[in-house]
Subunit: 430 residues, 2 copies
């Protein structure tokens, strides 16, 4: 262990000790304030921590019946935890909505706020009418009904999905974690390994790419290397236990763990096995990365390692004393190995705790105990994945990629904490 | 390896080989029937697997806008996947609704169909007004606001919840998996380890039990041993990423992984630290097990190892040939070690595959490849947990517990497969 590492460990232990003491005093003090009719006036002054608390109104009469919601919804007090939809777009058919990351906990994104990106709107598909055709360089071209797809042996896996423009290079000045990287969600997916179905149809020699087509009005089309199709690709029909939501490809989507979002073709209707990519719109004029020398990177499928602090984050406000720093890390290349946290604008780093289970190509929740001294500072997180790849700063990314790029920005996100406790984006336009 | 084990391995390998062959032929045949305008008439006869399939109506015009649902809901074609609510109850304030297990995949229960059990209806609580009091044998009695609870260091964990009457001893003749064991769900929970908060308030000598009280009209009250409170108990505010649903205790519930459902007190308002249990209604006249000798088991907190096949299951229909047998296993005592499947009414058993990650006190999805020969039979599953405990048959359970019991029935569930392919409950009233 180097002396720098030792310092880091000592600092971490000190922070932890400080929390137990400071947290206790803080909470004790606050609780007394509440009980004495201070700050939180809602509780009647007669509430005494040595006797039972007052009876709130909602205990004085029976609540709503069981099954009053045969399909439940969140509390009316959680109205703000919804998809983050841009307000001033020209049209909403080819557009996106974002997951409210700063309002969520854990790694599972509830289906109601899973991010959306559509290129021709959301079709309403009758699953009894839906078909998947597999043709081209195969021994036995086939058309499958959903019932036939569901008869195959199934698998369930937890994976993230992320749009490659999350955020675009020009959008790094947005306010909230959701505005910045809310085109990111994670779910438990169930379906059939694509390899199982390809084994059944039988690939012919020369089968190098599979062109996937969606049954939306855009007929969204992407070319996928055969290696991925025979690895961990899945034909997915369920998400977090229930069938896919319409906005997520109901009744069938392609899942390519770690690949950029739009390759995970929704409303999947066709797999055309071919020798060369089809060079569709979404892999030529869109979803390519223009480099400083004027050439373009193409087929940049895997999303690189990335992380973001979701609490505290932009537009939130913290108080002096103990504050847990928590957020999400992920990598298209496999497992997250480590997340480092800086609370001094990147001068020094300490290792955050990763919540088990740490799964491959899934979101990972990280946590770091922090006692804020009340002085202005900048906090940020930095992910390292199991390949050893380290998430870059925006300056490091810019040095390689220039500023003509739009997609595949995986830079660190710095948050500024003001003396008032207000948290805002530390990326400021020059 | 014993010769019996060897036979079992060989049989399993044979089944797998058979699937690849039989599955391929079956699907090939079915696909050809579709393409030639046969069985599935919905697809136009001109659809040719060597050319692109016909364009369905939903591709001919743009679909719904992005953000047309700022909080998404399932497809209208999934209307039947809702909570299973008893239709002829005297009242619905103290009642339950069940998770439609046979319609779900994976291990995560979506929040919309998480099972309910209420004793005084579902209160609508304003989180800004909600308080948690901790008093009794503590150094520093305190009243917490939700903001104060949320300032503590957090954890996220995936655990199941199960009602102890799932099903009651007299209810083993019900039709569907949901009717039988639908008082069972699983979620990723986020909150504060209760130990962290108890360390802050400081337990006094003699602190042996904690009485937890809910803020519902029933003021549901249960006594919890201090050992559990200092082990893996949590104060939980989030479920599958978002805040708890009102029916699940919004804004705060107690989570006691592996303990019977009602001890996981919802709408948690009070923790009273004491030396003896309070002997509340729900731990005396209810939630005790009357034994054959007239005595009653009390405080039977941990739910024993259990499993159920959810597909194929009661009211479903299968076809001859390959059918995946899949279902759920769980144990309050820790991890599931193994699930065995019998497809001959319990005469012989083979080991199912468990979906990773296998987590402690969480649902585990098991799968077993089965080729049905078309003859009537009975299928069933049997769970073994990491303590070595093996799930009993109903006869084995009855021999120990008699028939005066209602709660804690963890017997195996046999499903009868008729020659027609119709699946029904093999438990038949004598």
């Amino acid at each position: 262990m180097t002396s720098r590492q030792k310092d880091s460990v000592r600092a971490s232990a000190a922070t932890r000790r400080q929390f137990i003491g400071a947290g206790s005093a803080m909470l004790g003090g606050a609780a007394i304030a509440v009980a004495s009719g201070g700050k939180a006036a809602a509780l009647d002054a007669s509430a005494d921590p040595n006797g039972p608390p007052n009876i709130p109104e909602w205990m004085k009469q029976p609540g709503a019946d069981v099954g009053s919601q045969i399909y439940g919804t969140p509390s009316p007090f959680e109205k703000k935890v919804v998809r983050n939809v841009p307000k001033k777009l020209k049209q909403y058919t080819s557009a996106s909505s974002r997951t409210p990351l700063q309002e969520l906990d854990g790694i599972i994104t509830p289906n109601g706020v899973f991010y959306e990106r559509h290129h021709g709107g959301i079709p309403e598909i009758d699953p009894a009418q839906h078909r998947l055709m597999i043709h081209g360089l195969v021994e036995r071209p086939m058309i499958f009904t959903m019932d036939q797809i569901r008869r195959y042996p199934s698998e369930s896996r937890i994976h993230f999905l992320e749009c490659s423009g999350n955020p675009g290079f020009e959008a790094i000045y947005s306010k909230t974690a959701s505005d910045l990287v809310g085109l990111l969600s994670c779910a438990e997916w169930t379906g059939v390994p694509l390899k199982t179905v390809l084994d059944d149809v039988g690939l012919k020699p020369g089968a190098k790419w599979i062109v996937a087509e969606g049954a939306d009005a855009a007929a969204l089309t992407r070319s996928i290397p055969i290696e991925k199709c025979l690895d961990d690709a899945m034909l997915v029909y369920s998400q977090n236990g229930e069938r896919l939501r319409p906005a997520q490809g109901y009744p069938l989507r392609l899942l390519l763990p770690g690949f950029e979002g739009n390759t995970n073709v929704k409303w999947l209707r066709r797999l055309h096995v071919v020798t060369e990519p089809v060079y569709s719109r979404e892999e030529t004029s869109k979803y390519t990365d223009l480099m400083p020398d004027g050439t373009a990177r193409q087929f940049t499928f895997y999303m690189e390692a990335k992380s973001i602090i979701t609490r505290p984050s932009g537009t939130q406000k913290i108080e002096k004393g103990f504050n847990e720093i928590t957020g999400l890390a992920w990598s298209g290349h496999g497992k997250i190995a480590k997340v480092d946290i800086s609370t001094d604008g990147g001068k020094s780093w300490q290792t955050a705790k990763l919540q088990e289970p740490v799964l491959t190509r899934a979101l990972v929740r990280f946590r770091f105990p922090w006692t804020w001294d009340g002085k202005p500072t900048v906090i940020l997180s930095r992910a390292t994945d199991e390949t050893g790849y380290v998430q870059p700063s925006f300056d490091e990314l810019k040095a390689v990629r220039g500023l003509k790029s739009f997609y595949h920005n995986n830079a660190m996100q710095p948050w500024k904490v003001a003396e008032s406790g207000e948290v805002s984006n530390a990326n400021v336009k020059a």
